[in-house]
């Protein structure tokens, strides 16, 4: 428990014009219990209190504080609301991991088409590379990065990204963490863990679409 605050100003100093009201108010706000301030109408913005409180009132309050010893921390109950954090604006690093809250059973299923090495499983934050093909339930292919003869001779590369950090749809993040290097799996992902109610109209994904992916985990770094 902090030591009792000392009485800094004498009566003369208090009455003097050299001592601004704001200083007295600040001292009182810093050191008096909440209920004390409330009773003496000393709560709120210092500027506003200074406007409404007379110097004499402040001197009286100052005296009374030391008489009654109703300092901060002496009250049994401080208001709960004081504990609410103010919004902090800080330059935090941009890597804000979106913590996934446990909401129930997984909203995807996986069937293994080709087994992996069963030793190299990716952890959250690892970089994985995949070949994949995505189809809707009706069979329409909406996306793939698998090079075929039909495609222009573009340099095809597997898709690389850091897994488990919310960069991809949740179905992918969850499923890939269960796959090992070299594994090919068929994933059926419910809309809640894909593109949900909105879908992605410009990418041919309708609202509430269940997505089917065939994914090959090529590498884990």
């Amino acid at each position: 428990m902090a030591a009792e605050p000392t009485r800094e100003w004498s009566d003369e100093q208090l009455k003097s014009d050299d001592l601004p009201k704001k200083d007295i108010i600040k001292f009182l706000q810093d050191n008096a219990a909440h209920s004390f301030l409330n009773e003496h109408k000393l709560l709120g913005n210092i500027k506003n209190v200074a406007k409404t409180a007379k110097k004499e009132q402040l001197i009286i309050a100052y005296d009374q504080l030391f008489e009654s010893k109703r300092f901060k921390g002496t009250e049994a109950v401080e208001e709960v609301t004081e504990k609410v954090k103010a919004v902090k604006v800080e330059e935090k690093p941009k890597e804000v991991k979106t913590e996934v809250v446990d909401e129930g059973p997984p909203k995807y299923t996986k069937s293994v088409l080709k087994k992996g090495d069963k030793t190299n499983f990716p952890k959250k934050g690892d970089t994985v590379s995949c070949w994949y093909t995505g189809t809707l339930e009706d069979g329409t292919v909406f996306d793939t990065n698998v090079p075929t003869a039909a495609r222009k001779k573009k340099q095809a590369k597997p898709l690389s990204f850091k897994v488990g950090l919310g960069k991809v749809i949740r179905g992918w993040d969850e499923a890939l963490l269960t796959m090992s290097k070299g594994e090919t799996a068929r994933l059926e992902i419910e809309p809640e863990w894909a593109y949900g109610k909105k879908g992605l109209p410009e990418s041919k994904i309708p609202p509430n679409a269940k997505l089917i992916f065939e994914v090959e985990l090529v590498s884990v770094d």
Partner: protein, 606 residues
Amino acid sequence: MKTAGMALEQLSEVVQRCQALPDDSYTTEDHNIFTVAGRTCIEEGNSAQVLSIVLDEKNQEIVRCMGWNLLPPLIQVLLKKEDKNLPQCLAIFNHLLETCRPKELLIGLLEQLEQDDPDTIVESLHLLLKPLQKVLLCLGGRKASSLGMALSSVLDQVAKLPLPHTKEQEEDDVFSFCRCCTDMIDFVRPFVQEVRHNLLNNEMQSETTNRTVGRQGKDKEDELRTELLKFCMKSLSHPLLEVHLKDPDTLALSPLRTFATEILNILGSIGESIAGLVHQPLLKRKQVPGFLEEEVRYPKESLASLAHLVFVHHLAADTFPTVFSPVFSLRCNIEHVSLLLSRTEESKLQKGLELYEKSLVRVEDGSLRADLLEIKTFLTVPQNLIKVMTICPKHELRTKGLKVFQLSVDKFNTEAKYRFFQYMLKTSNHSGVEGYIIKNIKNQIDIALQPGNSNVWFEGVQLMPLLRKVLILPDGPETDLLQYLDRIMESLNLLRYLVIRDKVTENQTGIWTELYKIEDTFMKPLRVGVNMSRAHYERELQNTMEAKKSKAKEESVLSVSVGGEELPSMTPESQIQALHSALHTFDMIESVLARIEELIEVKDNL
């Protein structure tokens, strides 16, 4: 002064003299005479004779060394198009392209690209890009830096051209701007092919053997790739960030949209991943060794332009993977949005708003979490939005800004909304914005009070600190009521709502226990303020009316200043009108205040 005959004579003379000499012993004087005489001949219309000299087998060495100096007058003739010497000049021109040294031709051609007026610029680009391309292709492995120079020059010229803005302007292509864009794409095509070819070869080689292209060769390839990357990045900034692309429904065949698509295709061909570029703000890219640093290599404005093309115009949609989470896309795009909204040009503000809107729409309502607010950009963008909403001169942008602002609020979950409102009240310093936020708070409370929607942020213990920031007069009884009107009215509306909606016996919002304080900090000072202001304005009204009656020239009682400059004084009639309007406002405030007091009394007596 030379006569036509004289120039021709001198030209023939110097050519004859040099025929006998080996090319490394031509003197500077020989060069000068050839240049001056040759140019004069062409300018004076003797191109037929020059042509025969230039085609003469005996003169090929001379032509190879000195011929390129004839380019300036030749090109002038070719640009004029109606000159009767056109066929001969064209023939000379083509022969020079075949015969002279590429490096020198390059200098000559690039020089002629630099023009001042838009019409000449487009014509010279149309004329010279093909020859330039041909010359560059002759440079073999050394072409990269020359290509860079050429592209830089071309883009500098294009930057001087007026842009088509409407659909009609683009269709008619009155300024020939669209033709320029097409010409540029045609120009770079073979170089893009070369880079693509090299990349494929490298991949294949490193797969089959461990041998890769020799160090020097690889550097040259990298240089070429880098020059094309620079070209794409610059184009993304200008013209692509300035023009407003029309959608296929509006304009089926759009040269500008084609240009944009081609730029994205080029990026893909030279090995850049579009997704990688869009996500760049969040990726820690490896430092690429080479002669361009990261920020120079990928200018932020160009990447923002790219993101806009991908997300708003859906270009390159088939190469963009459909697996990224909408929240991740939002986090990347908000960085681009932040850049665009910090500019003043309307085209950039418009694109910033569009990109933000498109990114937000993909996210479910109420799904964005409060920890996102710890990312600085999530707070600076709303502040930029507020600037657009309040001070942008263009009405459509202000309206759109407000729409996108509200959309962003709707996407936050309740905790995030709470913190966001807190932050905005603290930092916006604008009565209109504060009023808008307070209205949002009221809506959230209303939602929370509905059965099944209960949350800890907009009722109960957490709500009160927020309400205290709302139900307060910024300067006590001396607050300028007119200046803070928007905020004050919304605060009163909120208070009235709470008093009506929240039953005394339930007190879900905590308003009934807090009311005595609110009376002290808000209602009483407000009443005092209203009375003071009313008295003041009534007095002023009196004075003004008397002054008007006596027709004495009075100093105006009201002065209005905008941006620090005082506007000319109002007429007495306008002053009176303004004063009446102010008094009416005070009446309005007072009536709501009275109603609230009435409601409190009723409930107290229940």
